[in-house]
Subunit: 425 residues, 2 copies
Amino acid sequence: MEKNIFALKGDICYSKNLKELQTMEQGLLVCKEGMVEGVFQELPIEYKDIEVKDYGKKLIIPGLVDLHMHAPQYTYRGLHMDLELLEWLNSYTFPAEAKYKDEEYARVTYGRFVDRMVKSATTRACIFATVHVEGTLILMDLLEKAGMHTMVGKLNMDRNAPDYLREVSWEQSAADTRRWIEEAKKRFENNVPMLTPRFTPSCSDEIMAELKKIQVEYGLPFQSHLSENSGEIEWVKELCPYAKYYGQAYSHFGLFGGDTPTVMAHCIYSCEEEIQDMKEQEVYIAHCPESNMNVVAGIAPVRKYLQEGLKVGLGSDVAGGATENLFTAMMHAIQVSKLRWRLVDDTLAPLTVPEVFYMATKGGGELFGKVGSFEEGYEFDAVILDDSHIPDQDGLTIEERLERFIYLNQEADVKAKYIAGTQVL
Amino acid sequence: MEKNIFALKGDICYSKNLKELQTMEQGLLVCKEGMVEGVFQELPIEYKDIEVKDYGKKLIIPGLVDLHMHAPQYTYRGLHMDLELLEWLNSYTFPAEAKYKDEEYARVTYGRFVDRMVKSATTRACIFATVHVEGTLILMDLLEKAGMHTMVGKLNMDRNAPDYLREVSWEQSAADTRRWIEEAKKRFENNVPMLTPRFTPSCSDEIMAELKKIQVEYGLPFQSHLSENSGEIEWVKELCPYAKYYGQAYSHFGLFGGDTPTVMAHCIYSCEEEIQDMKEQEVYIAHCPESNMNVVAGIAPVRKYLQEGLKVGLGSDVAGGATENLFTAMMHAIQVSKLRWRLVDDTLAPLTVPEVFYMATKGGGELFGKVGSFEEGYEFDAVILDDSHIPDQDGLTIEERLERFIYLNQEADVKAKYIAGTQVL
């Protein structure tokens, strides 16, 4: 199908806002030049001759947006889930990431990762790669060829990492970062560089200051980790005496939102000042509920963030999360919010299906522009889901079918996928 | 394949005990007359001519045991997960269960449930049906024909339920229970009646006393719910002034373990005396981790139960849990134990893969006799799992493959299933 003009027909569901889903049975979703024209019960007269792809009773939803994942960790997802964050990094993550120095290894394993990403319901993602320039370019190349639209980060790590992975100096880290950006900007249209210091403990003040210069020079988005674990938070306090709270270890260098589109992963233990800072600077929070459990981090107070009007999306956090499947992330987001309500703070109500769906589509999508909805003028990201293997669906509304799909979906249920108007699956 | 004598070949994994898995690559699991003869690297001379079914690199594990599930709730699994227990029962569960008065409806919907059970990795289960005698017999008939081995309960509910579902008197409830048992004993060999008062709030003292008589008369096992929710616990206190704690509402009638094989579902808020009572009376605890989250119940202190030497198995609790998949239950059991450790009590360490696997096999299996292991003399329950769709498996041990399978399995991965030596899938 061309990027030109066409319609998809099926049972359509998307978020109006945090509280409400918009649904239409046997609706027609019109795409023109890669953008959504609208959702119609009958095709308006001006579209009467366009091609209509009929998906029957399948669900049609906006593509999902993964605000946080680690591509090199895909090789060991679902393994070694018996350690806390800092031990886990040293025992498994760092050795695994070091392998991406080998370009052939990167090509093969990133190839498998990208293949799964294409087959998933995810259309947009913020991805951590490794410190390696060539490996990161290989990943971006594979994503570009597969039709994905992502932001990818070559990591910066110039301290507190094993010799085999640590960059030799902040100067080298900065030079590599520039080389990677120049190359990526030349070669890729839809997969763009995102500045990615791994997290404060891995990055000297010098490289942080330099990343700000690079950020201004190239106008790039920014991502990192924030307030995931109390050991990590204490460590940042020691490392950055100028920072009253963890977020200031970024804002001290002008790398905490504002003019820079910024994603901070986790934000489980953010203090009140950090929360207000994120609100004012419009920082996106990547809530990663499976990782909250698997690396024994705790549960982020997402209800509070939503009440305060912060920007929140969902992240799979592969491999802190075992799966790239964002429906699983929606399920876990609801489940951990219930436990938090029960066990930690009963003033913060559990999350609902419309809320987690919003976060996984329009909430995170906003980082990419007009993405994550079927309202007119949004980029045409759509996935087609076959829920016919789930029995006892008679008489269910589309919203009810969506709820069940969140709990009961299977990988093979994603039948087709369009990104910015182009069919990629 | 006949029940006689044969071997399965593949990558074998089963529990020795709570802490250790026993694994063998390309092992041979020998079945004789429905029982396990042993696991061998090479076939002993006396078996050299038996039929060997070679499953290649697939995993072979004992069949899984589901200690708690509600068959009539299968129709709405993954729906309406926005309420707490008591509201959820009134709004969704009771109306759904009332439909099973219609035998044709029961036949069709239980048919779908049994079909999924056969295709799952579960070989044994303790199942709640409804109050209806005919509907419960239909379920047992379908399970028997499908080759499953289960314990099934027609429910008793003679108080605190809506008119359309409540039994009209304890006398009628008892008479129906007797009629159901007589019929079931005549007709079914492998699917046996289990006495099942829904929970204390649904059952008068009179029917409880009568159930004890029936229990003695027929020598039947017993199941119910225990200490799931604080509202429920308070209600039981009001209803049963003779009970110092919830468990005594059963033990008061002699229905709390001892000579009676007994399963209590949930046990999230059991007090110290209740725990000691369960230990002494050898009550099985059905830990249902997904339900702990979905109906906002809390997290059962399973580590404590294991330390104290209580008997613990896993339950899917369909539809408090959305899926009958016990691998999902294993994942959730690990995950919620981590959150409990982090958020509630850091003296109770998270559960491990060998521990949750033990609970899902040998731990719950013991209720059924020698079930849930490949040690000699155990009933031959085995499932064959294809994990070949999970990439990056090179060099992994069987134990590591099992861990990943828990997080990344798909329904279609169950390729074959044997129960007591008979192939049912």
